[in-house]
């Protein structure tokens, strides 16, 4: 499966490029392993589905052409035919087989993508606000708004929450999205193969200026990343509580950078409701919620 599954996206890509919009079809040009896995599954599913569609359309066309109510139509007319046992059972079995072809890799990939393939991935705490993205780097102690810098060639774990209505955190060229929800911290890992520049956006409508939820993503070499963080720590201003409250307001802003940030701005417990009474701790320290 591996080898041919790799060739089909290439063929598709070629078609897309020929069509003239290939460079924009970000989903078909994944720049990281997550997006690649997802694309492979998409291609597999579309090929399987294309077979079904083609079969149905050919069958329907033949039926329509052959059995028109026209004078002199010699095709058989059998008004009393009620069905065909074997065919009817086949209708159930064949789609089930085709779906199995999609289902097996779906299960495998779903479980595979749920694990970060690294012991200590770089962690970025993502908070969606009205209408801006706040990125905090707990390891580097720096924070940015609306622009994200990540090291290329290694998995990055995003921990995503929201201090405003829901959004989804999405960098289409690196891989799929995950919701940013208040009161919950959801994980998502992505990786960029090589240094590069991408864009991200939100997929969940969040109010008037939702369209401004674009953010830029820059993947750089790990060395460049370290020096970027170090540079930020030296030159950028620190984020104060007042700064955070300004970010909470219903505004849009450009790119911002901070050399540190108050710890309470991201919830400390990363999982929610469990049966055993593991209660979710509210963001008690957060004045916005009192």
């Amino acid at each position: 499966m591996r080898t041919w599954a790799k060739r089909i996206p290439l063929a598709l890509l070629l078609m897309a490029v020929l069509a003239g919009c290939g460079q924009h079809a970000v989903m078909l040009n994944p720049a990281g392993p997550v997006g690649r896995t997802e694309l492979n599954l998409m291609v597999l599913a579309s090929v399987a589905m294309a077979i079904v569609i083609l079969f149905v359309l050919v069958l329907a066309t033949v039926a329509v052409v052959r059995f028109r109510d026209k004078k002199g139509n010699r095709a058989p007319y059998t008004p009393q035919v009620e069905g065909h046992k074997v065919l009817e059972v086949l209708w159930f079995i064949i789609p089930a087989l085709i779906l199995t072809v999609i289902a097996v890799p779906t299960v495998k990939d779903t479980f595979a993508l749920a694990k970060v393939p690294a012991k200590n991935p770089l962690v970025v705490d993502v908070t969606s606000l009205d209408w801006k993205w706040l990125f905090e780097y707990p390891g580097q102690k720096v924070a940015t708004v609306n622009h994200l810098v990540i090291p290329a060639g290694q998995p990055v774990l995003f921990k995503i929450t929201s201090d405003a209505p829901m959004n989804t955190f999405w960098i289409p060229q690196l891989g799929g999205m995950e919701y940013a929800m208040p009161g919950r911290v959801l994980p998502l890992w992505l990786e960029s193969y090589k240094p590069g520049v991408y864009w991200g956006h939100s997929g969940q409508f969040s109010g008037r200026e939702f369209e401004k939820m674009f953010f830029s993503v820059r993947a750089v070499t790990p060395a460049a990343f370290s020096s970027w963080a170090a540079h930020l720590r030296k030159t950028a201003p620190p984020m104060t509580v007042a700064d955070y409250h300004r970010l909470l307001q219903f505004t849009t802003v450009g790119h911002l950078s901070y050399s540190k940030y108050p710890a309470f701005t991201f919830p400390s417990v990363t999982h929610g409701f469990t049966l055993k009474g593991g209660m979710y701790l509210l963001m008690h320290n957060n004045p916005a919620h009192d």
Binding site: A114, K115, V116, L157, V185, L186, P187, L188, W189, T270, H271, G272, F273, T274, L275
Partner: protein, 120 residues
């Protein structure tokens, strides 16, 4: 009926014997008395087990829930004349589905939302 002509009833269809109607009209409401006593026993039993915590709480929760289901079945069967109908007791089918979907709804909702971080 109101003078119309449609006092008809579709016949029992094959495959639907399980919803054949049944009526009972005893001279003394013995059913009801026993049902009442049984529901009291179930209620106090569940209460006693909970107050004394006779076993592991999460198992016990399952046990008292099962007792509640038993009591619901008791009420349905004894008090609610659940098998009574003119013609096949059609309502049994959606009623059964409703309890199944209802339990699924509660259970699945808890299952869907009890997650911890999906990434280790």
């Amino acid at each position: 009926m109101h003078g119309g002509d449609e006092q008809h009833e579709t016949a029992m269809e094959p495959g639907f014997e399980f919803i054949r109607p049944r009526f009972e009209a005893p001279k003394f409401p013995m059913h009801q008395v026993w049902g009442y006593v049984a529901s009291l026993v179930l209620t106090f039993g569940a209460l006693w087990m909970t107050v004394n915590r006779i076993m592991n709480p999460s198992v016990l929760l399952g046990v008292v829930l099962a007792m509640a289901v038993a009591q619901a079945a008791l009420q349905l069967g004894v008090f609610m004349h659940v098998r009574e109908s003119r013609g096949p007791a059609w309502h049994l089918v959606p009623l059964g589905m409703a309890f199944a979907i209802g339990i699924g709804l509660v259970g699945m909702s808890v299952w869907i939302m009890m997650f911890k971080s999906g990434v280790s």
